[in-house]
Amino acid sequence: MMDYDKLISKKCFEMKPSGIRRFFDMANAREGVISLGVGEPDFQTPWNVRQAAISSLERGKTKYTANSGMAELKTAIADKIQKDLGVTYDPSQVIVTVGGSEGIDIAIRSIVDPGDEVLVVEPCFVCYSPIVSLSGGVPVPLETKAENDFKLTADLLREKITDRTKMLILPFPNNPTGAVMDRKDLEEIAAVLEGTDILVLSDEIYSALTYGGEHTSIIQIGDMAERTILVNGFSKAYSMTGWRLGYVAAPAPLIKQMLKIHQYAIMCSPTVSQYAAVEAITACDKDVEKMRTEYDQRRRWLVKALNGIGLDCFEPRGAFYVFPSIKRTGLSSEEFCERLLNEYDVAVVPGNAFGDSGEGFIRISYAYSLKHIMTAVERINDFITHI
């Protein structure tokens, strides 16, 4: 028998599977679970987008596109960034990727050398640190705090910068906290970065889902676009998770390097999805607005309801998550979630799955119908009163 463990690359072997995985298995083993546990929209992809995909297939658009993506789509993406953020990118500074996920991957892998330190704002989406480690880099957590509304502060950033710091990963609006960075917050971060050689990977996949104010990007501050790799995509804004489409926009010399990895690893993003994405980005502003309004209503209901049943939560202003504290229950995040699942059949995600600083919190997704959310919250309330 072969000892496969010995054959696996050391870096891969040491990579921990996502902490969410265990919960996923536990939840799936039960019947009748209602979940507030997913990170993808509940809406259907707008019908005109699906039709555009069907039509592309009918017209036989089934070949590879250019490595970096269809010219029409890259132009539409550059136009969209110009319109939303007022920053100009040439379409050649855009790569169409397989989800924001691939954008994150090629951004990190093209920049990080062994020993480089990468500052990762935590709690955060699960993929950054493992990819940094796979590149031989050293992830350095920047632990944001509830008392700062889970924002990255200049002090925290300054404290962790060393002469090995290569990159800052800035994921706002944030999964799992729902935190956003306002212009003033970003200006303070920019002031710290100015004059350094630190690059920024700005994961703005939830930019379209910002409530009570416009999304602000670090590329809008001073000359920060010069040092920023912007990652965004279609999954969350247009409810297109399964289409696997996203993009990076960055200074030309960085694009040139990322494109090599993309070219060899991916060839090009799915053609049918690219045709769908052109329709989404050029003809779906109304749909996005409608979904955003509905998320916002659920968000307001949920924040009020959770505070009402004694789970303190700060008001998240982005994405589709709330991140209430469960500290007053005396349980750890994992205990809370396991008992909620096993005793009341509600699935939510323990905050520590998103970094150690998430301990004492749980992530609740409101990418569900309000009716569904209400039923789940009723059960959560039952659970809390019986702890």
């Binding site: 969410i20 939840a27 799936n28 997913v38 990170g39 993808e40």
Partner: protein, 158 residues
């Protein structure tokens, strides 16, 4: 449309405090605004959206196109008034196009509807002709799919 109306249109059972949270209004404002809408007739009622296929297997619904001769003084209103007074008539709309009044009628069986058209509707003064269409299957009603949609997402995902 006012956000409050949009919310109620989707779910009339939301409580005042829920509506207040969702629409970012005070509870007082929600109450007084709803009262005003009810008073001026903007809100005409609150009903459950029922899938009749499950509630009453035998129920029958028909859409009837009615061509009429409008009266000199009162136009279509008089006849519309007469028709909407009958039991079982759920809606009466004045339409543009090849007919004038669209009447939705529900009944306990086909015969009841056929008799209504033959005896009551066709015989009315001013009705020129009728064309009756029976509803076979309801796919979507007032924005809601009649078949329960299946959530294909996993229970937990990052």
């Amino acid at each position: 449309m006012d956000q409050l109306l949009t919310l109620l249109k989707e779910n009339a059972r939301l409580s005042v405090s829920e509506l207040a949270a969702m629409a970012a209004m005070s509870e007082e404002d929600v109450k007084s605004k709803i009262a005003a809408y009810e008073k001026d007739g903007t809100i005409r009622g609150y009903q459950a959206l029922i899938n009749e296929e499950l509630a009453d297997k035998n129920a029958v619904t028909a859409f009837i196109e009615v061509k009429v001769t409008p009266k000199a003084e009162r136009g279509f209103d008089e006849l519309a008034n007469t028709i909407m007074g009958f039991d079982g008539v759920e809606s009466v709309y004045l339409m543009s196009g090849s007919f004038d009044l669209a009447v939705t009628l529900s009944g306990t069986d086909y015969k009841e509807i056929a008799l209504f058209v033959a005896r009551r509707l066709s015989t009315l003064d001013g009705v020129v002709s009728t064309s009756t269409h029976f509803l076979l299957k309801k796919y979507k009603d007032r924005g809601v799919y009649m078949d329960t949609e299946i959530d294909e997402r996993g229970l937990i995902a990052p």
